[in-house]
Symmetry: C2
Subunit: 135 residues, 2 copies
């Protein structure tokens, strides 16, 4: 898969992929940088960004387009949806099944050629919900 695009498996690329695959937290580039730094102290944040881009274009990982300011990454490339806590920004997977028929429905009623959709739930995680019972 790397060969076809004239790409190389560098140490940095390998470690970023390995570390992301250990995380279920849907980390941002910066969070991945912090973890990878333990193994590669001289790696730069720019390299992390570049590799996350390459890996998501290869389909090895998924770049998440969630609301909020920063992009997050997911080792799970299967289509699935997420919940984000409004208070602490924790992101978790949901057990909601992919809504493929939604796109078909829209297909007949819009002039757009639909190629996909993003669905994200917003809520309060148990911890934050406990802290503020009034909400």
């Amino acid at each position: 898969m790397l060969k076809e695009k004239n790409l190389r498996m560098t140490t940095q690329r390998k470690v970023i992929l390995e570390e992301l695959r250990k995380l279920d937290t849907h980390p941002s580039a910066d969070e991945i940088y912090e973890v990878v730094r333990h193994r590669l102290p001289r790696i730069s944040l720019g390299t992390v960004y570049r590799n996350l881009d390459v890996l998501s274009e290869l389909g090895e990982i998924q770049k998440l387009e969630l609301s909020g300011s920063l992009k997050r990454f997911d080792w799970d490339t299967n289509k699935h949806y997420h919940v984000r806590c409004i208070r602490c920004n924790r992101v978790e997977d949901t057990p909601v099944a992919p809504l493929n028929q939604l796109e078909d429905e829209l297909y007949d009623t819009t002039v757009f050629e639909i190629v996909g959709h993003n669905l994200e739930f917003i809520g309060l995680c148990p911890k934050c919900s406990k802290k503020d019972p009034g909400k």
Copy 2:
């Protein structure tokens, strides 16, 4: 509505609201700034950002959390979904009905207290679709 929060209806606030209500393009803060500048040449971009925040907190307009780098604004405060063109970033409303039952479904299967959801379709608008028939 303004009085309750000790807010004032300034010229800037009024013009921003009026101009946004003329637009169906779901403009970004910068695009609103450009339009409003025709009527108020000395307005600053910071003022536009501040007022869009105030107005969306008041519920007079809606701040859209779509994918892509910049936030967009919608005068239509009713719950509805959007399609974004991957190529030109044009955003339009969809006729897809609000999926309220989705949140109920998730309610039973997650530890999160769900308060809402965002759904966005991705596609090609007619213009961009024509330009690239191979895609």
